[in-house]
Amino acid sequence: MIELIHLEKKYNKACPLRDVNAVIHDGDVISIIGPSGTGKSTLLRCINMLERPTGGQILLDGTDITAPKYDLTKARRRMGMVFQSFHLFGHLTVIENLMLAPMDILKKSRKEAYETGVRLLKRVGLEGWEYQYPEQLSGGQKQRVAIARTLAMDPDVILLDEPTSALDPTMTGEVQAVIQDLARSGRTLLIVTHEMSFARAIGNRVFYMDQGGIYEDGTPEQIFDHPQKELTQRFIRRLKVLELNIDSCEYDFFNAASEIDRYCLQNVISPRTKYRIHLIFEELVQQILLPVLPEPHIRFTAAYSEKEKITDITVLYNGVPFDPASSENSLSYSVLKGTTAVLNYSASTEAGFTNRFQCIIPE
């Protein structure tokens, strides 16, 4: 069991891990997902102390491995690591890569190490490649050797840091299959990955990392089908969000319009949807809301899901409770109705706003 307690990692300019707390049980297979630069790899490298955390504790079966006097080699012997770019030992053949550490560290006999090595190569589908040098292998084969090298130390925990990111797409399958096989072996696995379907299929838990910590932690179903928190949802649905704030009747309409244009261009949103976003902004904000709000405070949010190709528009505004459906400007409202699939008015729960209006532009 690994416990992460208020783990923090700071660099001079960045702070990828602010406060990480988690309990990893024996046999857990955890995929770690999240946007780039949110400290996924850093977390993995902190767990086996390749990066020394700047704060907090890591307890491995109750022992604090961040303690200054702790002999790290003990912890590392129990935690294997597979790297994005393999790091096989170039001066040794494949079989020697598998035999080196068991003989040096575990003091296994040459015969025992050799037999284990041959068995593991067979397990990762590389029987007969014993006497090749790493440079003679393809990327996928190298990564499978790296996994076998880790397995040769018989670790309780295996950390995999983007094991398929450096491979070309034709080779990810063979490596993923080997990892699938590992996941069934009862070892604890932590896998940082960008492959969402793999992340969902492989494990019993998913960590979504954002904002310097584990932002949401749950089963694959929870995280992928019913994410609870906003950033998780955005990430899972691959949401691209535009936010416009209007705090005066004399705001720059043309600037707002050009921001919508830029947002659509950046996210490759179809011209049809772009036209509809413009239309909703004009009819709802310009025609319906601004005339009835003497001191306007409006937040217009468009969230486009790359995955589902639908756009969710939420408009928050102040003033007395007011449903645009009851607007005197029935023409504008009927335009809204004509362009969107769902129209929904409710009282706002967010501070500073009293009303919430939501509509969805279908694909």
Partner: protein, 515 residues
Amino acid sequence: MRSKSDGWRWLLILSMVLLPLSLLAGCGTKKTDVITSVEQLNEPGRKIGVYSDTAEDQLVARELPQAQIEYMKDHISAFIAVSQGKLDAFVYDRRQMELAIKSGQKGVRLLDATLGEGNRVAVGISPVTKFPDLEAKLNEFIAEIKADGTLDDMQLRWIVQNNETMPDIPVPESAPLHLVVGTTGSLVPYSYYAGTELAGQEIELARRFAAWVGAELEFKVYDFEGIVAAAQGGDIDCIMSNLFVTPEREEAIPFSDPYSLVEIGVLVRDAEQSGSASFWADIRENFQKTFLRENRWQLFLSGIGTTLLITVLSILFGTLLGFFTFMLCRNGHPAANAIARFCVWLVQGLPVVVLLMVLYYIVFGNVVISGKSVSVIGFTLVFGASVFSMMKTGVGAIDRGQLEAAYALGYTNLRAFFRVILPQALPHFMPAYKAEITAIIKATAVVGYIAVQDLTKTGDIVRSRTYEAFFPLIAVAVIYFVLAALLTFLVNRVELKIDLRKRTPEKIRKEVEGR
């Protein structure tokens, strides 16, 4: 774009071709006229050679103001230069040049006239010598041998009759004093090697003085350039090597009363004499002269031994020094690295000769230490600095991921270095290491400056005896090649043992499967 860079390339090639050509052209303009009098030399464009570190340059400047002075490092090379027409004349001790011609120096002859009033010869005395009342005793001794005719007899035998037998001089038993005499060992008939023993008028003088004063005698052999510095540093008590009294030298060290006067002669080219017999007969004769006569091969053997000793010890200690310094700096504090870099910069920035002289005369100035030991220390530093730089480059070429992979498997830092990093860095720096070995064996040729008789110095000594410039030089060159090849061969064998990537498939299979 292409044509522009091509243009530059052509320009570069052209300049590389033209540069040596222009140098050759400069050498090509020799005057080939026959010189019969000193006056003929006094015209612009005449090149007059003088021995560096003597007063002859002032003499030539005074007597032949139009001519151009060239400084020569040794007189044997000067003889050759004159015979080849590279110098129009060489101005030097007349007696020595006479002997050289008598001993078979070809293509040169002496003018009848002498230049100036001659040079006074005296014993140079170390200003810091611990020998009690050395100057007074020397003067007393010189006065005595002048008075009783011993000095005249010595000069008659060594210089006029050219009789090479050293008379028996009693060695004082249980001498309370110790006298260290510096000499050059390459000046016939004053101080030279007859076989493997020092001989000559100055050597006899030293022995007689030691016997007279009751001191145990020790000789140290220096290059001419280093000998005054050796006396200044107190490395020797006095210099007996036909040393001329010059104003510059008098500023540096005190001298005894002069005991002889050396005439200055002028050597010019003799175009009529040319090569003797056949090429092969020449070779045979030269070989005989250089190696066999007076058992000179023994001198060469000891020279080779000294060169090898210095080289091999420097390589061993230098490798260890470079390696351990690197290991200390590897994970070290930035300050430790900065200090190491500074030392490497210092050692690599100095010419090796200067480094050796600094070590010998300044750093170990007050310590009794042999030139060989100082050479080993100096070259160990030089080699260590190279090994340090090589390892830094070689290890730096290894991806940091290799270290991380080893850590992740449970290796400690040190173990990971030896099992994973070093074996991979090795192929990166072995070529540089081998190049450095051939470089260091050649670099040791300068140890003659600090009284070590290595291979090069042996060659110089033999050259000064046989007046054959080329054969000993070429022999020495061939020996250096053979030694370098030998060392490289040995290192290649070691490399095969330690470079894992050079194993044969059979060997790997055997190692892995243990059968």
